[in-house]
């Protein structure tokens, strides 16, 4: 990785690149998930909305790729997050549209927006601008998904099923956060072990 003397973010460059790779993974996986869902959905309003969303997700992926390149890195298409992959699989396997809407728009998107928010606070100005644009789009997408979920949930049972799905996905995204926190600790402990001991 090239060290860029012009990088002006508060967040360490290495940490920023890791976050961008994570968002790129969510976008790549999200496009695949939405394409499969749009093909199979029995609800015309869902199908039409998803097709529009796929275009936006692809655009976000382009923005993330551009930032990675500008920062001296390339998109790592082999990047994986097991817990998020589980979250996508759980959502894709849900039999009801309201569960899919809750799983993706209310939960996976929430995690994705959170990662963008961290970059808005601490990345370099061009990445902050790109993440601002993604975040604005995500806001519209979340409102669309949640409005549709409420419209398609006329019964208490359907609302309950959506809320249970939200809890299941939150559990997965919490595990992903836990893993990242442990990685940070392990790396720090290695540095401390290698440091010369004080007299």
């Amino acid at each position: 990785m090239t060290i860029l003397p012009s990088y002006r973010g508060t967040m360490p460059l290495e940490e920023l690149l890791e976050l961008l790779q994570l968002v790129a993974f969510i976008k790549r996986r999200g496009v695949r998930f939405l394409q499969e869902w749009a093909t199979a959905s029995p609800v015309p309003e869902v199908r039409d909305g998803l097709r529009r969303q796929i275009t936006r997700e692809e655009h976000h992926l382009t923005l993330v790729r551009e930032r990675l390149r500008a920062l001296g890195a390339e998109e790592d298409v082999s990047y994986q997050d097991t817990d998020l992959e589980n979250a996508f699989q759980i959502t894709a396997a849900a039999p009801q549209e309201v569960e899919k809407l809750a799983g993706f728009y209310r939960s996976i998107k929430e995690y994705s927006v959170a990662r963008c928010a961290a970059m808005i606070a601490l990345a370099d100005p061009p990445t902050q601008q790109a993440m601002d644009a993604v975040s604005d789009d995500e806001e519209h997408a979340q409102r669309w998904g949640e409005s549709l979920r409420l419209k398609l949930s006329p019964t208490p049972e359907l609302q309950r099923d959506g809320n249970i799905m939200r809890a299941r996905i939150l559990e997965q995204t919490a595990k992903s956060r836990e893993r990242l926190a442990r990685q940070l600790q392990e790396k720090a402990r290695r540095v401390l072990q290698d440091a010369p001991s004080k007299p």
Binding site: T10, M11, R106, E110, V113, A114, C116, A117, A118, I120, A121, L122, S135, E138, E139, H140, Q142, R143, E146, S147, L150, S153, P156, E157, Q159, R160, G162, N163, I164, R166, A167, R168, L170, E171, T173, A174, K175, R177, E178, L180, A181, R182, Q183, L184, Q185, E186, K187, A188, R189, V191, L192, A195
Partner: protein, 204 residues
């Protein structure tokens, strides 16, 4: 009420959102107290002045959330239940003794959580609440940047930086556990409260 909420763009359950504003007010109020105490104990003048600004910000946020909760019809009290996400942080409040540990805990963990939660919740609330959250978000981003300033200013060796990372990693892990507790609570709530339109967000 539901028609008015729809007109205002509120997609969350009205009562749950009002309760959430109360929780947020309490969290901001707690932030104000902690920040004020740590500001008084800070030795570095520049850090002290920055923490004084943050204390003032937190008080404005607490007041704004109390007023929003009142406008939404919630009864106000100073001691509503603590968010489950924040509960695992209590031992760290006692452990954090240095300025770096304290700002890491509040500015780089809790404030980052606040920024993330606001971005996640904002799309689902009414227009007035959205404007309020935008106003608060701008301050929260500044607080996160203050946390980074403290780390950059005081952690000047690889060892002090690693100590900071290790502490932040432990706090982040505790927050992740808090989110898992929240997930369980949401699942239980969903089963118990069939018919509740949406579950409450985990805003701090």
């Amino acid at each position: 009420m539901a028609t008015q909420d729809a007109a205002d763009g509120l997609l969350l359950d009205h009562q749950l959102w009002a309760e959430q504003c109360k929780l947020s007010a309490r969290a901001e109020h707690g932030g104000m107290v902690v920040c004020g105490l740590w500001m008084a104990e800070a030795d570095d003048v520049e850090a002290k002045l920055k923490l004084a600004r943050q204390t003032w910000d937190e008080s404005r946020h607490a007041l704004a959330f109390y007023e929003r909760a009142r406008a939404l019809g919630a009864d106000l009290d100073m001691d509503p239940p603590q968010s489950p996400v924040l509960q695992p942080l209590v031992p760290f409040l006692m452990e954090a003794q240095t300025l770096v540990e304290r700002t890491t805990l509040i500015n780089l963990c809790v404030e980052v959580l606040a920024v993330e939660s606001f971005h996640a919740t904002k799309p689902l609330v009414d227009l007035t609440s959205r404007e309020l959250m935008d106003f608060i978000l701008a301050d929260e981003v500044t607080h996160v940047q203050l946390g980074k300033w403290v780390v950059d200013h005081f952690c000047t060796t690889s060892e002090t930086k690693a100590r900071h990372d290790e502490f932040q990693g432990r706090v982040d892990e505790a927050l992740a556990k808090g989110r898992q507790i929240l997930a369980q609570q949401l699942a239980d709530q969903a089963v118990a409260l069939v018919g509740c339109s949406v579950s409450a967000p985990e805003v701090v």
